[in-house]
């Protein structure tokens, strides 16, 4: 196996995903199959090849630091799962 159950659990932890035992086993098998497939990239000698991060040549565009939108917290927070005025409420972070 290219990927162990332990590694699957670790990846799930990094990705903030709870997995059931069945899902762990299924994803281990799926990732194993896919990682085996992508090994074909090793056939290619890319030592002297630059990676492509973006297909278009772009420079970071800048603008003046001016507020251009209307403040509208109520509209933006209307979909919040839990709210207290202009604050978002979340479960406890620190004991």
């Amino acid at each position: 196996m290219k990927i162990t159950r332990e590694e699957v659990r670790n990846v799930a932890r990094l990705a903030r995903l709870d997995l059931s035992a069945d899902e762990e086993a299924a994803f281990a098998a799926d990732l194993d199959q896919i990682l085996t497939y992508v090994e074909m990239l090793d056939e290619l000698d890319t030592g002297a090849v630059e990676p492509t991060a973006h297909v278009v040549e772009l420079e970071t565009p800048y603008r003046d630091d001016e507020v251009t939108n209307q403040p509208d917290a109520d509209t933006l927070l209307a979909g919040a799962p839990a709210r207290d005025g202009t604050h978002l409420k979340v479960p406890k972070i620190i004991e």
């Binding site: 995903l17 990239l41 492509t52 297909v55 772009l58 979909g79």
Partner: protein
């Protein structure tokens, strides 16, 4: 006369001659949707009331005269990854099933400014991840040519809505083929513009270096019109390119005399459905008959495209989907645990299987110890694929290929094996990796009456050339006039 069967260009002409109103046109497509939705399920949120109101506004605007915008009064559907103010935008996912955007995507705003009438949000694979629209959390969209078959994906609902005349045009998004493949499977025109041609602001991000919004339409002229309505630099999208937008419809009739067409041999894969190969090669002969010059070319790194894509796209997706955490919007799981547990359970409950699979794969490819072997390696292979295309475009003006190795497959046929589903995209993925414009249009039907798509690929920002070649082929054939018979509900 069934107004729903008009093209955008035909409708625009009738609207200006007063032969019909936008309200009549809009009511015609809404009635059509009412009749066929139980069979094909193109749509998630439907906007009947606001659409009729927008149509009335369009009629008033047309009555004032002088309106040259071809999209005024035209009913359009938007894939449900495109933000629409006040209308639910779910990305086909339970994690956003209650999400109502407080703003419009730039493409939405541009269509509204044009006077287009937004009729519905189209179903799609969850977070645009899929090739069949079977990964939507809410519905399976059925191919109107055979409701037991997939429409392709991920923009399946956008394609079926156009094919079934539930709108006159639609927008989808294309990251690995998700506009071109459903267009091919549903017998309509679908285009992915050059990366950076159309703004991604307000479009739910899947893979930010690959995603592009693209039009789906009944014919190539309509595609040119709809592309022109949405293309152009957007200060809100720092990856959008500041080059002028030509009048894409202006040069359509220039023909293909002297056009240099390349046929990449690697795209005629072993195991292709014979009718697909025959139709594509016959289409090439038609283009030759119209004056194009055809040569075989080689894109030697084609076969590595899927592997590179499923590392790059999933890595980018794992980052883009980190925002769905239950804090600011969307679904939040209930429970008494702390913050981290809330994140883990919200995402476990809200994401479907394929989305989780891709997040896992992408997270792994970026993780310490594996980044160089997987993500960085894939980015280097991406460079090799780009170089293949650049070399081909030194000798050719366009490349012509199949869109897929087969016609539409039955619902459920490829869901058991993720890799088998991924292989569906072998002809479309490299175009996204290279950021090139690509268009799919019908070039025939197989023995079961299922549409076959022809792909035309251009050099960066050469959409006009791609559209011109597509239009010449289309006008020399009758495929674009065929309509699916959906049958009584």
């Amino acid at each position: 006369m069934d107004l729903a069967n008009l093209t955008i260009a035909e409708a625009a002409s009738k609207l200006r001659r007063g032969e019909c109103s936008s309200v009549e046109l809009t009511r015609a497509v809404l009635a059509r949707a009412h009749a066929v939705e139980p069979r094909i399920h193109s749509f998630l949120a439907r906007c009947d009331d606001t659409a009729v109101a927008a149509a009335a506004d369009a009629d008033a605007r047309l009555a004032r005269g002088g309106d040259a915008n071809p999209l005024t009064g035209i009913p359009i559907a938007l894939k449900d990854v495109i933000a629409t103010r006040g209308v639910p935008t779910t990305a086909g996912s339970r994690i956003l099933e209650n999400f109502v955007p407080p703003y419009d995507a730039t493409v939405t705003a541009r269509l509204r400014t044009s006077g287009a009438v937004i009729v519905a949000k189209a179903n799609c694979d969850e977070f645009a991840m899929g090739s069949s629209t079977e990964n939507s959390a809410f519905a399976v969209t059925c191919n109107p040519w055979d409701v037991g078959r997939v429409p392709g994906g991920s923009s399946g609902g956008s394609a079926t809505a156009v094919a079934a005349a539930e709108c006159l045009g639609a927008l989808g998004t294309d990251t690995g083929g998700s506009v071109r493949l459903p267009a091919a499977f549903c017998g309509v025109v679908g285009m992915k513009p050059t990366y950076g041609r159309v703004s991604r602001y307000g479009v739910v991000a899947y893979a930010s270096s690959l995603d592009q919004v693209g039009p789906l339409t009944r014919d190539v002229r309509d595609c040119a019109l709809l592309l022109g309505a949405i293309a152009g630099h957007d200060p809100l999208d720092s990856t959008s390119v500041d080059t002028p937008v030509p009048d894409y419809a202006a040069g359509l009739d220039a023909g293909v005399r002297g056009l240099r067409i390349g046929l990449p041999r690697e795209y005629f894969v072993a195991g292709m459905q014979p009718e697909v190969e025959r139709s594509v090669r016959a289409a090439v002969r038609t283009l030759e008959g119209l004056g194009a010059a055809v040569t075989e070319v080689s894109l030697p790194h084609t076969r590595y495209g899927i592997a590179a894509y499923y590392l790059i796209a999933t890595a980018e997706a794992s980052s883009n989907l980190a925002r769905y955490d239950g804090v600011k919007y969307g679904r939040r799981s209930q429970g008494n645990g702390g913050l981290l547990e809330m994140y883990r359970r919200t995402r476990a409950e809200g994401f479907g299987r394929e989305v989780k699979r891709r997040i896992m794969l992408g997270t792994y490819a970026l993780s310490a110890g594996y980044y160089d072997a997987y993500y960085l390696k894939a980015q280097k292979v991406r460079t090799l694929i780009r170089r293949d295309f650049a070399a081909a475009f030194e000798r050719c003006d366009v490349l012509v290929t199949p869109v897929a190795a087969t016609t539409a497959f039955p619902i459920g046929a490829r869901t058991a094996d993720p890799l088998q589903m991924y292989l569906t995209d072998v002809c479309t993925i490299p175009v996204n990796l290279a950021g090139l414009p690509g268009l799919s249009l019908p070039c025939g039907f197989d023995g079961a009456g299922l549409p076959i798509g022809l792909q035309i690929i251009g050099a960066p920002f050469a959409e006009e050339t791609v559209l011109r070649a597509a239009h010449a082929y289309e006008q020399a054939t009758e495929w674009h006039r065929r309509r699916p018979q959906i049958g009584a509900t």
